[in-house]
Symmetry: C2
Amino acid sequence: MYIVILAGGSGTRFWPLSRTARPKQLIAVVDGPTMLQRTVERVLPMHPKRILVVTNQLQAEESEQQLVRYRQQAPIDIIAEPVGRNTAPAIGLAAALIAARDPEGVMVVLPADHFIRDEEGLRTCLQRAVQTARNGYLVTLGIVPTRPETGYGYIEADMTLRGDGPFPVLRFIEKPPLDQAVRYLEARSFLWNSGMFVWRADVILDELARQMPELAARLEMLQFGGQVWDLVDMAPQIAAMYAEVAAQSIDYGVMERCRRVQVVPAEIGWSDVGSWSALPEVLAANDAGNVVTNCAAHIAVESTGCIVSGHGALVATVGVRDLVVVNSGDAVLVCPKERAQDVRAVVEALRVQGLDRYL
Amino acid sequence: MYIVILAGGSGTRFWPLSRTARPKQLIAVVDGPTMLQRTVERVLPMHPKRILVVTNQLQAEESEQQLVRYRQQAPIDIIAEPVGRNTAPAIGLAAALIAARDPEGVMVVLPADHFIRDEEGLRTCLQRAVQTARNGYLVTLGIVPTRPETGYGYIEADMTLRGDGPFPVLRFIEKPPLDQAVRYLEARSFLWNSGMFVWRADVILDELARQMPELAARLEMLQFGGQVWDLVDMAPQIAAMYAEVAAQSIDYGVMERCRRVQVVPAEIGWSDVGSWSALPEVLAANDAGNVVTNCAAHIAVESTGCIVSGHGALVATVGVRDLVVVNSGDAVLVCPKERAQDVRAVVEALRVQGLDRYL
């Protein structure tokens, strides 16, 4: 079994902690390992044959450094995309690399920037998915919804069958309006699209050949040398491939039109930690009602509902509620929780003002 | 003319920038020199014979270092009190030191932690006071009030005389209730007690002998050696003196009961910068309505009325009003402007929790 970690994302919503060269997956949103490290740590007990991390050239070195400590437990390859082309080319490239040595190898595709509280539960779901994937299915993990979220895509499953799944997927649904999301939550047969996939390398390549023939053709042109895993020499080939292929998500490019998709419902304390205001999903509030991480201490004088990330500093708040306070060492952010999405406006202002070192 | 700077104050209201060993007078509340350095810089054009800085043992070394750069322009002595005894013993000691070499030397006593926008105006007032002091008066500078402040003491002057003063002082008044402060503001003959004094060394020693005989007796026991200024050997004598003398302010101990006090009204853009919320008194708001100092930049997204001190970092605020945001490198404070006084509660919490390194 192979692990493919999609780690090339960029994002501004965790500014000032996340930066262009050190986005969310490469930072410790909460104390301890980074999101990428946590992603690796939670699959190591499954004894993967290899771990392939697909990232970009800006983040490759930092990714490499963060994963050095795990190399004794599993071989790890860092694949640096020359340019971002969404998930389909990244997954296709990983599938081609695996298929070249182990055509029926099962690959588990995981985003690098999600938080999962119940890691044992995740592994149980993945093991179940691996069994089904061996039979030629495309399997995805569907998160059991806990709220009528309008920010995620949904998967409708045929849950008339008994057991814990996998269940056949009836359809993929784009981000719904609120009333629809409420109905989905009540119906119990709708799951959040998590971006976690399990399938055999040859099976996904077959699907790509059928549904994304141009990408598949480019993948077939790749030369892998012998049975030895060595990606260093492949950079020019990968660059040539990325120069030709179109950006496309695997969801839109393959999953939504594929008939042999199954879904494993997952109740695993999942969160995509989409912004600072989502931190309470992954970290419990303290007695004062504040969520505090990476602080020497938080002195809260009549302050509650705050989200505080201190970069090792002490943070003191007096008489404030529901405020996000983040220190990154060279930058400090203060923002009400309900405006956490507007951190984008700060990043945009930095860009306009040419303050590139803070991007 | 001698300058005596009272620099031994401690205070918590500028936490986290101010600390026990680096209180307000030793920090740059606004960009540039520290409060102590500014105090020295604004009197250097008056060509003082010497500058005596009275501080405490915890702050002596930092004070010394901050003033090295001015030693070519005036001799500077740092006097470290072994224990704080309010202003009367500090001023008495300085007067005794000056009188030992230059009995009729005029000394100008200045607090080290006030801000003065019109420095030329200050020097003009001080020169006027020095003239009067030579004739044997005790002269003080009285700040012309700009608001009905209830946090300061007042001086009532006999301003029926013509000219810019000095005027005879009728009485000293403790911090008044608001209605009284409003009447003082309207009456125009009431001035804020600034803690700035000008007198001859022998004159203040005479007054001390009359009104604070115990302190005067201890001062008379001091041995100064020859005509050379050398304070190093005096530490044991000073320690012995401080062990014996009572804490007393010069206002209460001398000024309030003395008949030969004159006051020079001063309109010099004075502020004692009592807390973070007073920063707008000394630093103009920018176009966005925020007062910003020591920041690489302040990115204000729909934020106004804020006071931001960044320790060189970039600070971003989104959708907040009238907030104090201070970064000191190892600590961050966030607090509404109207609660700036409650920074004390943070310092108290640090003490209780044993977080001494942040005190």
